[in-house]
Amino acid sequence: MVTLFLLLPLAGALLALFLPRERELDARWIALLFSGLAFAVSIVIFVTFDPDQNGYQFVDQFTWINPSGAGFEVQYFVGVDGLSAPMVLLLGLLSVVAVLVSFNIDERVKEYFAYLLLLETAVAGVFLSLDLIQFFLFWELELLPMYMLISIWGSGRNRYSAMKFLIYTLAGSAFMLVGFLVIGVDAGTFEISALTEMPPQDALIPLSLVFWAIMIAFLVKLPVFPVHTWLPDAHTDAPTAVSVMLAGVLLKMGGYGILRIALPILPEQAHDFRFVLAAIAGFSVLYGAVITLQQRDLKRLIAYSSVSHMGYVLLGIAALGAVGLSGAALQMFTHGTITGLLFVMVGLIYERTHTRDITSMSGLMHRMPLIGTVMLIAGLASLGLPGLSGFVAELTIFLGAFDAHPAATIAGIFGVVLAAGYILWMVQRIFHGPADEKWADLKDANCWWEHVAMGSLVVVIVAIGIFPGIITDSIESGIAPIAQIFEANL
């Protein structure tokens, strides 16, 4: 089942590449079909996943590399638990949305959709891998389609931004690889669950260094201050669908990696450095929010707000308690849907106005009430309005983190006030005010794919806001074993 989810997009990518040139546009339908099938599979996985059962479910495992006498092997080992199940669902959903908002791509269509589907497979591999080396390979595989998508179909300084994204991630993952190898070689296995059961006590280099080597890759991806500057550039110059994927799922690879690998395998080191992590988190929230207030480019505004909001993920993680960790996992999911929707809306607005300069737009509500309303809902979710999903996640994080890190938590709560500031300012400038003659010809969202892309994300955001239980049961079962490590030993 899980392998099917992993391979479906890849199959779609290959199929799209083999389309004859005159039927190039059919690549859209192939992409929609295969990402849709993958989404269906992810729903099946999420629904049939049993939160009361321990360990991984839907496991596929076989040995892949077995160097003779080396004492360890590299496996193909995939499966889901309560932590990855929501991530898989999120990926399935956002991939369909990304395909839909790409329906009017007209340049090198086949390659575009092939890369987009390859990206889905790569990210799926990261969320599903239960072996460190395999995890690393998928982590690196994701770079290729991202680089191509930004540099070929991007705008502005697209090559610079793509390069920056690449170098940043590569630099981080070089450290990560060293960390993985040190741990794995020492323990004689790269299996995450085996390493979790017997955390390394000692290695070639001090374990605290190993911890930071691994963390640096994840913190770059998350991203948090001071390794965040690739994000606004990448977002600004990427095409809409890539922004959706980037904010929606790629950033979550960082938080997921911390929860899946860094904390369970190196719990003592995480505990030692929890105050450092909390300080980075609290600072990132405020720093990101204050810079967001300064942005005039719509995409940069949302990109910097992501820096602020991903700080919450790290804050929940730094609490090292069941509630805080759950909040972090929940925030990853909700931020994925909310910011995904925000970028979808920015794309729709940009397509119509051909500008992202907030100060040059006004009164758009008169021309596009539907886009305006959905943008408002997404913005309200982003500023943590109760009844929408962001609130539940942020509150969970605050509750979980306050005891351990009161100052960082209060900083985080203040970030919510600043979020109200930048979101409402943006809404006021773009949508409110008298109707502007300049925009008299704009059309509201009118294609079916636009409606489906917006509608599906709105439904998810509202549903989780009102019934968070639909997702928290799974998260609880995923977080429980991690939280136990910290409760039992530290």
């Binding site: 690889l177 109760p386 605050f398 006030v417 500031g421 006021q428 005010g433 928290t472 609880e476």
Partner: protein, 647 residues
């Protein structure tokens, strides 16, 4: 009392009826195929809220039968996530039953009034959709049994206030006012949220309001926790109930349609802060004395500050807005002084007469197309019904015997008299100012010569000489005069005992009595204020202009709203946050943080170039090189590590 006890499901129905109306109208607006028409929206909303009103009456009847004590419905699970366990339920006791009655009554009348006031507006259906959502949220707020449930609806009423203040979003002033209202109240909610997180952490995961109150009353919470919690809750209340220094959003919120002001910014939402403090009254009482004294003094200061601004404002709605702030200050002062019954009683009577006064101002606006009193005058002949009801509302607000406002204000001043003579003096001065500014409004608006009104205003199609408003507007106003006149008499009829039913028995100490000094001085203040207003604005001796000149800088300060807006918006937000902090941090991010990264990259590339003398200039080449490099590194390390282990 008269009926069998209300079942829990019926209380939920009070909440769900407007929710259904909201949902149906929302679908009707989004899906054109449903064939939904604007007039359906108002009918649906009125029907739903009418149903809620009937059920709320039933709930009130049941609560009176229980002497105001909690009906004790068990809550229901909402979320289970490790220790984060939340149950939502309905709290039926004197406080919530009374509030449900107030909210549904005023809301129902305002909806009827709105069918006239909003007639022909392009956003008619959207308006009623939002009004349904507001009524639902407000009911959810007052019936909540859990602090988190209360907080969720607290934010939702804030949202609907935002959307309704900015209802005419094409007007830049309305859009700005909406944003300001949301952000200022959210600043208060920042502290509220800290209080919420604090109490959950320190009680080991309790959100249930009754349990928190019980823990506080049994002295199981440390003073530090109590101080933090009560001050946090108070800051949230100060944001919503527009207490100094977070009061300055409310006058701007008058940019919304007038029925919205009548419902949200006078009777219900702005009173939510007082309700919140009353809900946690046992906890507030358990907090150290300095905390309650602070609350009382902030309330009193707000009362007199807002009254002084009300005296000089020229916009009839803004006078009413300042009056609302001032009266809310009274209630907050009463809570701080331990006057639980007085605060709630005043909240109760104020809701009706202030809603009435706002509807009167809307009726006047409907006729003249302006809110500027300098362009009104002489309307008493053209609008006799509006005039008569406005007089009744003003007399009640001024505290003239035997109208409702008299009784509740008297309770308030009596509490102050017993606890703090200075605050009693402030309160009495405010009573004088209240009567003065209300009758200033009456003389400017309804007496003298008509000064022309205004030609164009958005959302209305009225022109020509002033005329009485349609029956859909005057009937709600006439109905509202009944509670404005009579509801004070409940004071003689066990209101205090009923309301205290929600409190634990140890802190019930209300006993109805009167004090001749308080009575005489407040009556004197009321008539003095009316007389002074008559002298200045009717007889024009001294002339108002002379008075303004005589007051000199005081007048300038009050007319400039004490420059709180400028300090908060211009000073703190624009200069500190934007110019100073924001710009420097953004520059730091661009130049330093990003600069170091780019510098490193450039430096590294230079070194590489020199070493290898291999500059192709193609980014793809670099990419594939580095990808290749990584793969090579992987393989090498693999082989090496295997060898290491073999050795």
């Amino acid at each position: 009392m008269f009926l069998p006890d209300i079942p829990e499901l019926m209380i939920w129905a009070i909440y769900f009826a407007p929710m259904v109306s909201f949902a149906v109208i929302a679908c009707g607006i989004t899906i054109p195929r449903m064939g939904f028409q604007a007039r359906h929206a108002s009918r649906l909303t009125i029907t739903a809220i009418g149903l809620s009103w009937i059920l709320a009456l039933w709930a009130l009847d049941t609560s009176i039968g229980l002497d105001g004590e909690s009906a004790g419905f068990a809550p229901h699970e909402w979320l289970r996530l490790f220790d984060f366990e939340v149950d939502f339920g309905v709290q039926l006791d004197s406080l919530s039953a009374l509030m449900m009655f107030v909210v549904t009554s005023v809301s129902l009348l305002v909806q009827v009034y709105s069918t006239g006031y909003m007639h022909g507006d392009g956003g008619y259906a959207r308006y009623f959709m939002l009004m349904s959502l507001f009524t639902m949220s407000m009911l959810g707020l007052v019936m909540a049994s859990s602090l988190l449930q209360l907080f969720i609806h607290w934010e939702l009423v804030g949202l609907t206030s935002y959307l309704l203040v900015g209802f005419w979003f094409h007007r830049p002033a309305a859009a700005a006012a909406a944003k300001k209202a949301f952000i200022v109240t959210r600043f208060g909610d920042f502290f509220f949220m800290i209080a919420l997180v604090l109490i959950w952490t320190k009680t080991g995961g309790i959100f249930d309001i009754t349990e928190i109150n019980a823990l506080a009353a049994q002295h199981q919470l440390s003073d530090a926790v109590l101080v933090g919690f009560v001050l946090g809750v108070f800051a949230g209340a100060a944001g919503k109930s527009a207490q100094f220094p977070l009061h300055f959003w409310l006058p701007d919120a008058m940019e919304g349609p007038t029925p919205v002001s009548s419902l949200i910014h006078s009777a219900t939402m702005v009173a939510a802060g007082v309700y919140l403090l009353a809900r946690f009254f046992p906890t507030v009482e358990a907090a150290p004395g300095e905390v309650t004294t602070t609350i009382a003094y902030i309330g009193a200061f707000t009362a007199i500050l807002a009254a002084s601004m009300g005296i000089v404002a020229n916009d009839i709605k803004r006078v009413l807005a300042y009056s609302t702030i001032s009266q809310l200050g009274y209630m907050v002062m009463a809570i701080g002084l331990g006057g639980f019954v007085a605060a709630i009683f005043h909240l109760f009577t104020h809701a009706f007469f202030k809603s009435l006064l706002f509807q009167g101002s809307g009726s006047v606006n409907h006729a003249t197309n302006t809110f500027d009193m300098r362009r009104m005058g002489g309307l008493r002949t053209a609008m006799p019904l509006t005039f008569a009801t406005f007089i009744i509302g003003s007399l009640s607000l001024s505290g003239v015997f035997p109208l409702a406002g008299f009784w509740s204000k008297d309770e308030l001043l009596l509490d102050a008299w017993h606890h703090d003579k200075f605050l009693w003096m402030v309160g009495t001065i405010v009573a004088f100012m209240t009567a003065f500014y209300m009758f200033r409004v009456i003389f400017l608006t309804f007496f003298g010569e008509y000064r022309g009104g205004e030609e164009v205003d958005v959302g209305h199609d009225v022109a020509g000489p002033p005329h009485e408003s349609p029956r859909s507007m005057t009937v709600p106003m006439i109905i509202l005069t009944v509670p404005s006149v009579l509801f004070g008499l409940f004071a003689l009829n066990g209101f205090g005992g009923f309301i205290e039913g929600t409190l634990p028995e140890e802190i019930r100490h209300f006993k109805f009595h009167m004090d001749s000094v308080v009575l005489a001085s407040s009556t004197l203040a009321a008539f003095g204020g009316i007389g002074a207003a008559a002298a200045v604005y009717l007889a024009r001796t001294p002339k108002p202009e002379q008075l303004g000149r005589a007051a000199g800088p005081f007048y300038t300060f009050a007319a400039g709203k004490y420059y709180v807006d400028e300090i908060a918006e211009g000073g703190i937000v624009r200069v500190v946050l934007h110019r100073f902090l924001g710009r420097w941090i953004a520059a730091f991010d661009r130049v330093v943080v990003d600069g170091i990264v780019n510098g490193t990259a450039v430096g590294a590339r230079r070194i590489g170039d020199i070493a290898r003398r291999l500059e192709t200039g193609h980014l793809q080449a670099y990419t594939s090189m580095s990808m290749l490099g990584v793969v090579v590194v992987i393989i090498v390390i693999f082989v090496l590590s295997g060898n290491v282990l073999e050795r």
